[in-house]
């Protein structure tokens, strides 16, 4: 049984259809990468997977609970088994890294402070930030902040780990380190991982399966080898990094032609 199951998901913003009847199954223990260009609807899909938005129609079933229409209590229960690392890391700036990680443990469990301290230290060590617990988020570099947010996502030992653009804004070395970290964590904690990204090397490094999103619908969902050799023109365009067939020079030319023939210039 899939751990996340999306059926006929439709999302519209002011009449504009952003997601157009998506279907997706994520099996337990696999890494699913949602790949797509800017504006393809990746972030919207992710927000719907997390129950941060309500879709126009369709269902998102996580661990057997339809989070589009369940009660707030059930939604909270489901969310406790999901760890999320956002694109901007979104650490609480008023708390130290340690407290960021410990927050969920302190509030959602009745563990003794000494156990929480140990657990936090372990999670920070797992992401390679064992010495940075006492620092504030502003004192960390971009890559360290991402790692700290991963440690926080791991706090409650989630079954599902969700990453929004893990390598955005990071240099290639740090981005690659983060990919290895995701692989390592998945191996160590046996989690289901969902990653939203547009970075090809990262996607093919960490994915078991890839879902290729294009203008609100899936072009293909399959193992990464299948996606790599796909002959779909849009997928090929994305993978081969071909720009759309609009030549900027031509655009400028046509602009000037129009301008010169306009009544105010031609007396």
């Amino acid at each position: 049984m899939p751990i996340i199951s999306v059926r006929n998901l439709v999302v519209e913003y002011g009449g504009r259809r952003v997601l157009d009847g998506l279907n997706l199954d994520v099996e337990p223990g696999e890494t699913m990468v949602l790949l797509g260009g800017s504006g393809a609807g990746k972030t919207t899909l992710l927000r719907n997977l997390l129950g941060l938005e309500r879709p126009q129609s369709g269902s998102v079933v996580v661990k057997g609970v339809d989070i589009t229409c369940c009660s707030p209590t059930e939604l909270k229960r489901v969310r406790r088994s999901i760890g999320v690392s956002f694109q901007s890391a979104a650490l609480f700036n008023s708390l130290t890294v340690e407290d960021n990680v410990a927050l969920a443990l302190r509030e959602h469990t009745s563990l003794a402070p000494s156990i929480i301290e140990l657990d936090v230290w372990m999670k920070l060590a797992a992401v390679g930030l064992a010495d940075c617990g006492k620092l504030y988020p502003q004192e960390l570099s971009g890559g360290m902040r991402k790692r700290a947010s991963v440690a926080r996502a791991l706090a409650l030992d989630p079954e599902i780990l969700v990453f929004d653009e893990p390598s955005a804004g990071l240099d290639p070395i740090v981005a690659a380190e983060l990919d290895e970290l995701i692989l390592l964590l998945k191996e160590a904690f046996q989690m289901t991982v969902v990653v939203v990204t547009h970075e090809l090397p990262s996607a093919f490094r960490i994915a078991d399966r890839i879902a290729m999103l294009y203008r609100g619908s899936f072009l293909a969902v399959g193992r990464k080898e299948e996606i790599r050799v796909s002959q779909d023109p849009h997928i090929r365009q994305f993978l081969d990094r071909v720009p759309d067939i609009v030549k900027p020079a031509h655009l400028v030319e046509s602009f000037f032609e129009k301008y010169l023939s306009s009544p105010e210039v031609a007396p």
Binding site: R47, L50, G51, L52, K76, R77, R79, R80, I82, V84, F86, Q87, S88, A90, L91, F92, N93, L103, A104, R106, E107, H108
Partner: protein
């Protein structure tokens, strides 16, 4: 002409919608208030509430105190210059004492706090929205209203009436300074006269007002913060809107409260 009436109607509905939204916010925040109480509630929320009390209340004492002294002095001077002509200088004491406890104390404090803390609240929440911290709170199975709004509301509900008392005392003391320099009135006699002129109703009505103002300031600040859409520049706009709207609503609410106390009081 019809267009004008249409616009007036639409704008009125918009304002009513805003006030309706505030009342719903108040209901949600009051329901979450239970978690902030000491002993029975969540101790982290109580700690956060105490921090808010210090930030909203204690840190504002010098500013509110000085403002109140200035206003008390102004009121005494303006009143004195007129009342002197009738040889009724002793009425300056009543003017300052009753004016401050009933009206100027609560209003002055509310305006100072709306500028100082209303803006801070909306800026803090708006920043949390922009940096996805509110989203991460939801995903971590926290209730943003309980986590962010409730401690601020409790803090303000306790701090603002206390500040109002400080404001009253400072204002009335400034009235004595004026009386001392104009009529060499002793402090003891002045205090006696003040107590003579005040009834409990004046003080209580002022404090009831200040509690209502505290709720308005916090709720408007929170609402403006949460409704932020877009990037960092939207944070600035929300801060301005919070101060303008809360000051406006405080004065409108003051009129209603004064009317209620006026019509229910003995003449």
């Amino acid at each position: 002409m019809t267009k004008f009436i249409e616009n007036v109607g639409r704008d009125t509905l918009k304002r009513l919608d805003y006030v309706g939204g505030l009342s719903m916010g108040l209901w949600a925040a009051v329901r979450a208030l239970g978690t902030t109480l000491p002993v029975t509630g969540n101790r982290y929320r109580w700690k956060a509430s105490v921090v808010q009390m210090l930030e909203i209340g204690v840190e504002a004492i010098p500013m509110v105190g000085l403002m109140a002294m200035c206003c008390g002095f102004i009121l005494a001077m303006q009143g004195g210059s007129e009342l002197r002509r009738f040889g009724a200088m002793s009425l300056v004491i009543d003017l300052v004492a009753i004016g401050f406890t009933r009206e100027i104390g609560p209003l002055l404090t509310a305006i100072a706090i709306s500028g100082r803390s209303g803006s801070a609240i909306s800026a803090e929440i708006a920043t949390m929205v922009v940096t996805e911290e509110i989203d991460i709170l939801k995903v971590m199975a926290f209730e943003p209203v309980e986590f962010v709004v409730a401690p601020k509301l409790l803090g303000a509900l306790i701090a603002v009436p206390c500040l109002t008392v400080v404001c009253n005392v400072c204002g009335i003391f400034a009235g004595w300074i004026f009386m001392f320099f104009s009529t060499h009135l002793g402090l003891k006699l002045y205090v006696h006269e003040v107590l003579e002129s005040l009834v409990l109703r004046d003080v209580v009505s002022g404090l009831i007002k200040s509690i209502a103002f505290a709720a308005i300031i916090v709720l408007v600040g929170c609402r403006e913060g949460f409704s932020v859409r877009g990037g960092p520049e939207a944070v600035g706009r929300s801060t301005t809107a919070a101060v303008v709207k809360s000051t406006f609503l405080v004065i409108v609410a003051d009129m209603f409260f004064t009317a209620i106390f006026y019509f229910t009081g003995k003449h």
